[in-house]
Protein backbone atom coordinates (compact mmCIF):
# COMPACT_ATOMS: atom_id res chain seq x y z
CA UNK A 1 0.00 0.00 0.00
CA UNK A 2 2.80 2.31 0.95
CA UNK A 3 4.49 1.45 -2.34
CA UNK A 4 1.35 2.27 -4.35
CA UNK A 5 1.12 5.55 -2.49
CA UNK A 6 4.68 6.35 -3.46
CA UNK A 7 3.93 5.57 -7.11
CA UNK A 8 0.97 7.94 -7.00
CA UNK A 9 3.15 10.61 -5.44
CA UNK A 10 5.71 10.22 -8.23
CA UNK A 11 3.00 10.55 -10.85
CA UNK A 12 1.48 13.63 -9.23
CA UNK A 13 4.85 15.22 -8.64
CA UNK A 14 6.11 14.80 -12.19
CA UNK A 15 2.75 15.74 -13.73
CA UNK A 16 2.03 18.93 -11.80
CA UNK A 17 4.55 19.95 -9.15
CA UNK A 18 7.71 19.34 -11.15
CA UNK A 19 6.10 19.72 -14.56
CA UNK A 20 8.83 19.17 -17.11
CA UNK A 21 8.09 22.21 -19.20
CA UNK A 22 6.85 24.71 -16.65
CA UNK A 23 8.98 23.89 -13.61
CA UNK A 24 12.07 22.15 -14.91
CA UNK A 25 12.16 24.09 -18.20
CA UNK A 26 12.92 21.05 -20.33
CA UNK A 27 11.49 20.58 -23.81
CA UNK A 28 10.89 24.29 -24.32
CA UNK A 29 11.59 24.09 -28.06
CA UNK A 30 8.56 21.99 -29.06
CA UNK A 31 6.55 23.72 -26.33
CA UNK A 32 6.93 27.02 -28.17
CA UNK A 33 7.32 25.62 -31.69
CA UNK A 34 4.38 23.25 -31.97
CA UNK A 35 1.80 24.97 -29.79
CA UNK A 36 -0.07 27.00 -32.36
CA UNK A 37 -2.96 24.60 -32.76
CA UNK A 38 -4.53 22.28 -30.18
CA UNK A 39 -4.75 19.39 -32.65
CA UNK A 40 -1.03 19.38 -33.53
CA UNK A 41 -0.13 19.94 -29.89
CA UNK A 42 -2.10 16.81 -28.99
CA UNK A 43 -0.31 14.84 -31.72
CA UNK A 44 3.07 16.00 -30.46
CA UNK A 45 2.08 15.15 -26.89
CA UNK A 46 1.03 11.64 -27.89
CA UNK A 47 4.26 11.01 -29.77
CA UNK A 48 6.37 12.29 -26.86
CA UNK A 49 4.42 10.17 -24.37
CA UNK A 50 5.07 7.09 -26.45
CA UNK A 51 8.79 7.75 -26.86
CA UNK A 52 9.34 8.87 -23.24
CA UNK A 53 7.76 5.74 -21.78
CA UNK A 54 9.84 3.48 -24.03
CA UNK A 55 13.00 5.54 -23.49
CA UNK A 56 12.59 5.28 -19.71
CA UNK A 57 12.39 1.51 -19.98
CA UNK A 58 15.37 1.11 -22.30
CA UNK A 59 17.69 3.57 -20.56
CA UNK A 60 16.90 1.82 -17.27
CA UNK A 61 18.02 -1.48 -18.75
CA UNK A 62 21.15 0.04 -20.31
CA UNK A 63 22.13 1.83 -17.11
CA UNK A 64 21.90 -1.16 -14.80
CA UNK A 65 23.02 -3.96 -17.12
CA UNK A 66 25.82 -2.29 -19.07
CA UNK A 67 26.98 1.02 -17.61
CA UNK A 68 26.85 0.09 -13.90
CA UNK A 69 28.33 -3.38 -14.27
CA UNK A 70 31.24 -2.07 -16.36
CA UNK A 71 31.75 1.04 -14.24
CA UNK A 72 31.09 3.40 -17.12
CA UNK A 73 28.58 5.75 -15.45
CA UNK A 74 30.30 8.76 -16.97
CA UNK A 75 29.16 7.61 -20.43
CA UNK A 76 25.54 7.97 -19.33
CA UNK A 77 24.62 11.01 -21.44
CA UNK A 78 26.11 9.82 -24.70
CA UNK A 79 24.79 6.28 -24.25
CA UNK A 80 21.28 7.57 -23.51
CA UNK A 81 21.28 9.81 -26.57
CA UNK A 82 22.28 6.80 -28.64
CA UNK A 83 19.43 4.76 -27.20
CA UNK A 84 16.87 7.50 -27.69
CA UNK A 85 17.92 8.18 -31.28
CA UNK A 86 17.78 4.51 -32.20
CA UNK A 87 14.46 4.15 -30.42
CA UNK A 88 12.86 7.07 -32.23
CA UNK A 89 14.04 5.69 -35.57
CA UNK A 90 12.56 2.31 -34.74
CA UNK A 91 9.27 3.76 -33.51
CA UNK A 92 9.04 5.80 -36.70
CA UNK A 93 9.49 2.67 -38.79
CA UNK A 94 6.91 0.72 -36.83
CA UNK A 95 4.34 3.49 -37.00
CA UNK A 96 4.91 3.94 -40.72
CA UNK A 97 4.28 0.25 -41.24
CA UNK A 98 1.40 -0.20 -38.81
CA UNK A 99 -0.54 3.01 -39.34
CA UNK A 100 0.35 5.29 -42.25
CA UNK A 101 -2.39 7.70 -41.18
CA UNK A 102 -0.90 8.23 -37.74
CA UNK A 103 2.53 8.51 -39.36
CA UNK A 104 1.27 11.28 -41.60
CA UNK A 105 -0.48 13.05 -38.75
CA UNK A 106 2.68 13.10 -36.62
CA UNK A 107 4.80 14.01 -39.62
CA UNK A 108 8.02 15.81 -38.82
CA UNK A 109 7.41 15.85 -35.05
CA UNK A 110 8.33 12.22 -34.71
CA UNK A 111 12.03 12.50 -35.73
CA UNK A 112 12.22 15.83 -33.90
CA UNK A 113 11.65 14.05 -30.59
CA UNK A 114 15.19 12.68 -30.87
CA UNK A 115 16.51 16.07 -29.89
CA UNK A 116 13.83 16.83 -27.31
CA UNK A 117 15.81 17.37 -24.12
CA UNK A 118 12.83 16.39 -22.00
CA UNK A 119 13.31 12.78 -23.10
CA UNK A 120 16.97 12.75 -22.11
CA UNK A 121 16.04 14.67 -18.96
CA UNK A 122 13.53 12.12 -17.76
CA UNK A 123 15.97 9.27 -18.41
CA UNK A 124 18.69 10.93 -16.33
CA UNK A 125 16.33 11.97 -13.52
CA UNK A 126 15.08 8.37 -13.29
CA UNK A 127 18.60 7.23 -12.56
CA UNK A 128 19.44 10.11 -10.20
CA UNK A 129 16.35 9.47 -8.07
CA UNK A 130 17.28 5.75 -7.94
CA UNK A 131 13.81 4.66 -9.06
CA UNK A 132 13.08 0.97 -9.62
CA UNK A 133 11.65 -0.24 -12.94
CA UNK A 134 7.97 0.42 -12.17
CA UNK A 135 8.72 3.84 -10.69
CA UNK A 136 10.82 4.64 -13.75
CA UNK A 137 7.94 3.80 -16.06
CA UNK A 138 5.48 5.83 -13.98
CA UNK A 139 7.85 8.79 -13.86
CA UNK A 140 8.48 8.63 -17.63
CA UNK A 141 4.81 8.43 -18.53
CA UNK A 142 3.85 11.05 -15.97
CA UNK A 143 6.48 13.47 -17.24
CA UNK A 144 5.27 13.00 -20.80
CA UNK A 145 1.65 13.53 -19.75
CA UNK A 146 2.76 16.69 -17.94
CA UNK A 147 4.44 17.82 -21.15
CA UNK A 148 1.25 17.10 -23.10
CA UNK A 149 -0.82 18.98 -20.53
CA UNK A 150 1.43 22.04 -20.74
CA UNK A 151 1.62 22.11 -24.54
CA UNK A 152 -2.13 21.63 -25.01
CA UNK A 153 -2.93 24.36 -22.48
CA UNK A 154 -0.48 26.64 -24.26
CA UNK A 155 -2.02 25.86 -27.65
CA UNK A 156 -5.48 26.64 -26.30
CA UNK A 157 -4.29 30.01 -25.00
CA UNK A 158 -2.43 30.81 -28.24
CA UNK A 159 -5.51 30.04 -30.34
CA UNK A 160 -7.33 32.71 -28.35
CA UNK A 161 -4.40 35.12 -28.45
CA UNK A 162 -4.62 35.06 -32.26
CA UNK A 163 -7.87 37.01 -32.06
CA UNK A 164 -7.00 39.28 -29.15
CA UNK A 165 -6.07 42.91 -29.31
CA UNK A 166 -2.37 42.77 -28.40
CA UNK A 167 -0.11 45.86 -28.29
CA UNK A 168 1.92 46.05 -31.50
CA UNK A 169 5.43 45.48 -30.03
CA UNK A 170 4.24 42.38 -28.14
CA UNK A 171 2.57 40.64 -31.06
CA UNK A 172 3.75 37.15 -32.00
CA UNK A 173 6.62 35.66 -30.06
CA UNK A 174 6.96 38.17 -27.17
CA UNK A 175 3.41 37.61 -25.95
CA UNK A 176 3.97 33.86 -26.23
CA UNK A 177 7.00 34.06 -23.97
CA UNK A 178 5.08 36.18 -21.46
CA UNK A 179 2.26 33.65 -21.54
CA UNK A 180 4.71 30.82 -20.92
CA UNK A 181 6.16 32.73 -17.98
CA UNK A 182 2.73 33.34 -16.45
CA UNK A 183 1.81 29.67 -16.90
CA UNK A 184 5.01 28.72 -15.13
CA UNK A 185 4.14 31.03 -12.22
CA UNK A 186 0.67 29.51 -12.07
CA UNK A 187 2.14 26.00 -11.93
CA UNK A 188 4.29 27.15 -9.00
CA UNK A 189 1.03 27.05 -7.08
CA UNK A 190 1.18 23.26 -7.12
CA UNK A 191 4.38 23.41 -5.04
CA UNK A 192 2.39 22.99 -1.80
CA UNK A 193 0.71 19.82 -3.05
CA UNK A 194 3.59 17.56 -2.03
CA UNK A 195 6.04 18.02 0.81
Amino acid sequence: MEYAGKLFMILLSTLLVNNFVLSRFLGICPFLGVSKKVSTALGMGAAVTFVMALASLFTYIIQYTILDTLGLEYLQTIAFILVIAALVQFVEMVIQKMSPTLYQALGVYLPLITTNCAVLGVAIINIQEKYDLLQTLINGTGAALGFTLAIVLMAGIRERLELSDIPEPLKGFPITLITAGLMSVAFLGFQGLIK
Partner: protein, 270 residues
Protein backbone atom coordinates in the same frame (compact mmCIF):
# COMPACT_ATOMS: atom_id res chain seq x y z
CA UNK B 1 45.23 1.87 -18.30
CA UNK B 2 44.43 0.01 -21.48
CA UNK B 3 41.22 -1.24 -19.94
CA UNK B 4 40.04 2.29 -19.14
CA UNK B 5 40.34 3.27 -22.76
CA UNK B 6 39.22 0.07 -24.36
CA UNK B 7 36.11 -0.56 -22.27
CA UNK B 8 34.19 2.58 -23.18
CA UNK B 9 35.14 2.26 -26.83
CA UNK B 10 34.09 -1.36 -26.95
CA UNK B 11 30.86 -0.95 -25.01
CA UNK B 12 29.67 2.18 -26.83
CA UNK B 13 30.87 0.86 -30.18
CA UNK B 14 29.18 -2.43 -29.46
CA UNK B 15 25.92 -0.73 -28.56
CA UNK B 16 26.05 1.42 -31.69
CA UNK B 17 26.78 -1.62 -33.83
CA UNK B 18 23.92 -3.49 -32.19
CA UNK B 19 21.44 -0.65 -32.70
CA UNK B 20 22.71 -0.05 -36.21
CA UNK B 21 22.33 -3.62 -37.37
CA UNK B 22 19.04 -3.87 -35.49
CA UNK B 23 17.66 -0.85 -37.33
CA UNK B 24 19.02 -2.06 -40.66
CA UNK B 25 17.43 -5.46 -40.20
CA UNK B 26 14.19 -3.87 -39.01
CA UNK B 27 14.03 -1.58 -42.00
CA UNK B 28 14.54 -4.56 -44.31
CA UNK B 29 11.87 -6.53 -42.53
CA UNK B 30 9.20 -3.93 -41.79
CA UNK B 31 10.34 -0.91 -43.80
CA UNK B 32 7.85 0.57 -46.24
CA UNK B 33 8.95 0.66 -49.86
CA UNK B 34 8.74 4.13 -51.32
CA UNK B 35 8.93 5.02 -54.97
CA UNK B 36 12.30 6.76 -55.57
CA UNK B 37 10.53 9.13 -57.93
CA UNK B 38 8.42 10.42 -55.04
CA UNK B 39 11.46 12.08 -53.53
CA UNK B 40 12.36 13.63 -56.88
CA UNK B 41 8.85 15.01 -57.22
CA UNK B 42 9.03 16.42 -53.69
CA UNK B 43 12.33 18.11 -54.58
CA UNK B 44 10.83 19.70 -57.67
CA UNK B 45 7.80 21.12 -55.85
CA UNK B 46 7.93 24.58 -54.24
CA UNK B 47 7.54 23.06 -50.77
CA UNK B 48 5.35 25.78 -49.28
CA UNK B 49 2.57 23.32 -48.41
CA UNK B 50 -0.13 25.84 -49.31
CA UNK B 51 -2.70 23.21 -50.28
CA UNK B 52 -3.79 25.02 -53.44
CA UNK B 53 -3.61 21.75 -55.40
CA UNK B 54 -6.28 20.23 -53.18
CA UNK B 55 -3.90 17.79 -51.47
CA UNK B 56 -2.57 18.02 -47.90
CA UNK B 57 0.74 19.73 -48.60
CA UNK B 58 3.42 19.18 -51.20
CA UNK B 59 4.17 15.63 -50.01
CA UNK B 60 0.52 14.70 -50.40
CA UNK B 61 0.51 16.08 -53.93
CA UNK B 62 3.76 14.24 -54.73
CA UNK B 63 2.22 10.95 -53.57
CA UNK B 64 -0.86 11.62 -55.71
CA UNK B 65 1.26 12.40 -58.78
CA UNK B 66 3.18 9.14 -58.35
CA UNK B 67 -0.06 7.21 -57.90
CA UNK B 68 -1.34 8.82 -61.09
CA UNK B 69 -4.26 10.52 -59.33
CA UNK B 70 -3.05 14.07 -59.91
CA UNK B 71 -1.90 15.67 -63.15
CA UNK B 72 1.71 16.90 -63.37
CA UNK B 73 0.28 20.35 -64.03
CA UNK B 74 -1.68 20.23 -60.76
CA UNK B 75 0.57 22.65 -58.86
CA UNK B 76 -0.74 26.16 -59.56
CA UNK B 77 2.05 27.74 -57.52
CA UNK B 78 4.94 26.17 -59.41
CA UNK B 79 3.31 26.93 -62.75
CA UNK B 80 4.89 25.96 -66.03
CA UNK B 81 8.45 25.36 -64.78
CA UNK B 82 7.43 22.86 -62.10
CA UNK B 83 4.97 21.17 -64.48
CA UNK B 84 7.82 20.67 -66.93
CA UNK B 85 10.12 19.18 -64.28
CA UNK B 86 7.39 16.83 -63.03
CA UNK B 87 6.65 15.83 -66.60
CA UNK B 88 10.27 14.85 -67.06
CA UNK B 89 10.32 12.79 -63.85
CA UNK B 90 7.07 11.04 -64.70
CA UNK B 91 7.89 10.67 -68.38
CA UNK B 92 4.79 12.58 -69.40
CA UNK B 93 4.27 15.60 -71.56
CA UNK B 94 2.95 18.56 -69.65
CA UNK B 95 0.74 21.17 -71.19
CA UNK B 96 1.68 24.63 -70.07
CA UNK B 97 -1.04 26.58 -68.34
CA UNK B 98 -1.28 30.33 -68.63
CA UNK B 99 -0.06 32.19 -65.54
CA UNK B 100 -2.85 33.49 -63.34
CA UNK B 101 -3.07 35.95 -60.48
CA UNK B 102 -5.57 36.85 -57.79
CA UNK B 103 -7.34 40.22 -57.97
CA UNK B 104 -9.36 42.02 -55.31
CA UNK B 105 -12.44 43.20 -57.17
CA UNK B 106 -13.30 46.30 -55.17
CA UNK B 107 -12.13 49.87 -55.52
CA UNK B 108 -14.16 51.21 -52.61
CA UNK B 109 -11.33 52.76 -50.63
CA UNK B 110 -11.73 55.56 -48.08
CA UNK B 111 -11.98 58.18 -50.86
CA UNK B 112 -14.72 56.40 -52.74
CA UNK B 113 -16.84 54.40 -50.32
CA UNK B 114 -19.14 55.73 -47.62
CA UNK B 115 -18.82 54.38 -44.06
CA UNK B 116 -21.90 53.20 -42.22
CA UNK B 117 -20.42 53.18 -38.71
CA UNK B 118 -17.05 53.17 -36.95
CA UNK B 119 -15.82 49.66 -36.30
CA UNK B 120 -13.68 49.04 -33.21
CA UNK B 121 -13.92 45.26 -32.91
CA UNK B 122 -11.65 42.35 -33.68
CA UNK B 123 -9.29 43.23 -36.52
CA UNK B 124 -10.65 40.60 -38.87
CA UNK B 125 -12.92 40.81 -41.91
CA UNK B 126 -14.94 37.73 -40.95
CA UNK B 127 -15.72 39.18 -37.53
CA UNK B 128 -16.46 42.63 -38.94
CA UNK B 129 -18.74 41.31 -41.67
CA UNK B 130 -20.97 39.74 -39.03
CA UNK B 131 -21.90 43.20 -37.76
CA UNK B 132 -24.49 44.37 -40.30
CA UNK B 133 -22.32 43.25 -43.23
CA UNK B 134 -19.35 45.35 -42.14
CA UNK B 135 -18.75 49.02 -41.57
CA UNK B 136 -19.16 50.10 -45.20
CA UNK B 137 -22.44 51.38 -46.55
CA UNK B 138 -21.90 48.94 -49.42
CA UNK B 139 -22.51 45.40 -48.15
CA UNK B 140 -20.22 43.94 -50.80
CA UNK B 141 -17.09 46.07 -50.37
CA UNK B 142 -13.62 45.28 -49.12
CA UNK B 143 -13.37 45.89 -45.35
CA UNK B 144 -9.60 46.18 -45.41
CA UNK B 145 -9.05 44.28 -42.14
CA UNK B 146 -6.43 42.08 -43.75
CA UNK B 147 -7.90 38.59 -43.38
CA UNK B 148 -6.54 37.82 -46.85
CA UNK B 149 -3.16 39.35 -45.98
CA UNK B 150 -2.80 36.99 -43.03
CA UNK B 151 -3.71 33.82 -44.93
CA UNK B 152 -1.48 34.56 -47.95
CA UNK B 153 1.52 32.22 -47.72
CA UNK B 154 3.43 34.27 -50.28
CA UNK B 155 3.17 37.71 -48.69
CA UNK B 156 1.54 38.90 -51.90
CA UNK B 157 -1.42 40.88 -50.52
CA UNK B 158 -1.22 44.18 -48.72
CA UNK B 159 -3.65 46.83 -47.46
CA UNK B 160 -3.27 50.11 -49.33
CA UNK B 161 -2.98 53.43 -47.53
CA UNK B 162 -6.60 54.02 -48.48
CA UNK B 163 -7.70 50.90 -46.63
CA UNK B 164 -8.48 48.19 -49.14
CA UNK B 165 -6.65 45.01 -50.04
CA UNK B 166 -4.53 44.79 -53.15
CA UNK B 167 -2.59 41.92 -54.71
CA UNK B 168 1.05 42.18 -55.70
CA UNK B 169 0.87 40.64 -59.17
CA UNK B 170 4.50 39.58 -59.23
CA UNK B 171 4.42 37.75 -55.90
CA UNK B 172 1.00 36.17 -56.39
CA UNK B 173 0.95 32.51 -57.42
CA UNK B 174 -2.82 32.13 -57.80
CA UNK B 175 -2.97 29.49 -55.10
CA UNK B 176 -6.51 30.60 -54.28
CA UNK B 177 -6.25 30.58 -50.48
CA UNK B 178 -7.32 34.23 -50.22
CA UNK B 179 -10.30 33.51 -52.50
CA UNK B 180 -11.61 31.07 -49.91
CA UNK B 181 -10.72 33.33 -46.95
CA UNK B 182 -12.47 36.53 -48.08
CA UNK B 183 -15.88 36.70 -46.39
CA UNK B 184 -17.09 39.04 -49.13
CA UNK B 185 -15.99 36.76 -52.00
CA UNK B 186 -14.21 39.73 -53.54
CA UNK B 187 -11.08 37.97 -54.74
CA UNK B 188 -11.03 36.17 -58.05
CA UNK B 189 -8.34 34.32 -59.96
CA UNK B 190 -7.87 35.98 -63.35
CA UNK B 191 -5.39 35.53 -66.20
CA UNK B 192 -2.14 37.40 -65.56
CA UNK B 193 -2.32 38.97 -69.03
CA UNK B 194 -5.81 40.40 -68.50
CA UNK B 195 -5.73 44.21 -68.42
CA UNK B 196 -9.41 44.96 -67.83
CA UNK B 197 -11.45 43.99 -64.78
CA UNK B 198 -14.75 45.01 -63.24
CA UNK B 199 -13.57 46.23 -59.84
CA UNK B 200 -16.96 45.93 -58.16
CA UNK B 201 -19.04 43.08 -56.84
CA UNK B 202 -22.11 44.98 -55.65
CA UNK B 203 -25.42 43.39 -56.57
CA UNK B 204 -27.35 46.41 -55.22
CA UNK B 205 -29.58 48.53 -57.43
CA UNK B 206 -28.05 51.62 -59.04
CA UNK B 207 -29.59 54.01 -56.52
CA UNK B 208 -28.13 52.20 -53.52
CA UNK B 209 -24.77 51.80 -55.21
CA UNK B 210 -24.63 55.53 -55.95
CA UNK B 211 -25.29 56.32 -52.29
CA UNK B 212 -22.63 53.94 -51.00
CA UNK B 213 -19.71 54.29 -53.38
CA UNK B 214 -18.37 56.56 -56.10
CA UNK B 215 -16.87 53.77 -58.17
CA UNK B 216 -19.56 51.09 -57.93
CA UNK B 217 -21.17 49.37 -60.90
CA UNK B 218 -24.60 50.89 -61.50
CA UNK B 219 -25.52 48.27 -64.12
CA UNK B 220 -26.15 50.89 -66.82
CA UNK B 221 -25.17 48.36 -69.50
CA UNK B 222 -23.12 50.88 -71.48
CA UNK B 223 -20.19 48.47 -71.36
CA UNK B 224 -22.35 45.72 -72.79
CA UNK B 225 -23.34 47.94 -75.70
CA UNK B 226 -19.87 49.24 -76.55
CA UNK B 227 -18.16 45.86 -76.43
CA UNK B 228 -17.54 44.54 -79.93
CA UNK B 229 -16.54 41.11 -78.73
CA UNK B 230 -19.57 40.15 -76.63
CA UNK B 231 -17.18 39.76 -73.71
CA UNK B 232 -18.95 41.77 -71.00
CA UNK B 233 -22.40 41.01 -69.59
CA UNK B 234 -24.53 42.70 -66.96
CA UNK B 235 -26.40 40.22 -64.78
CA UNK B 236 -27.84 40.63 -61.27
CA UNK B 237 -26.99 44.35 -61.33
CA UNK B 238 -23.30 43.72 -61.92
CA UNK B 239 -21.10 43.61 -65.00
CA UNK B 240 -18.80 40.65 -65.48
CA UNK B 241 -16.09 40.01 -68.04
CA UNK B 242 -15.56 36.76 -69.90
CA UNK B 243 -11.75 36.69 -69.97
CA UNK B 244 -11.75 34.13 -72.80
CA UNK B 245 -13.47 36.57 -75.11
CA UNK B 246 -12.01 39.85 -73.84
CA UNK B 247 -9.23 41.28 -76.01
CA UNK B 248 -8.30 44.13 -73.63
CA UNK B 249 -9.45 46.86 -76.03
CA UNK B 250 -10.44 48.94 -72.98
CA UNK B 251 -13.38 50.60 -74.65
CA UNK B 252 -15.70 49.55 -71.82
CA UNK B 253 -13.37 51.08 -69.24
CA UNK B 254 -13.27 54.37 -71.13
CA UNK B 255 -17.04 54.57 -71.44
CA UNK B 256 -17.90 53.40 -67.92
CA UNK B 257 -19.56 56.40 -66.23
CA UNK B 258 -18.51 55.49 -62.69
CA UNK B 259 -15.11 54.02 -63.63
CA UNK B 260 -16.09 50.77 -61.96
CA UNK B 261 -14.27 49.02 -64.77
CA UNK B 262 -10.56 49.12 -64.18
CA UNK B 263 -8.13 49.12 -67.09
CA UNK B 264 -4.36 49.01 -66.97
CA UNK B 265 -3.79 51.77 -69.53
CA UNK B 266 -0.04 51.74 -68.93
CA UNK B 267 0.35 48.28 -70.37
CA UNK B 268 -2.18 48.74 -73.16
CA UNK B 269 -1.15 47.15 -76.44
CA UNK B 270 -4.01 48.33 -78.64
Amino acid sequence: MLKEILMPILSLGGMSLLFGTGLALASKKIGVETDPREEEVQEALPGVNCGACGYPGCDGFAAAVIAGNAPVTGCPVGGASVAKKLGEIMGQKSEVNEKQVARVLCAGDCDNAVEKYNYHGIEDCVAASMLADGSKECGYGCLGLATCVRVCPFDAIYITKKGIAEVDREKCTACGICVAACPKDLIEIIPYSSLVQVACKSKDKAKDVRKACKVGCISCKICEKVCDYDAIKVENNIASIDYEKCVDCMVCAEKCPTKAIYADFEHAVV
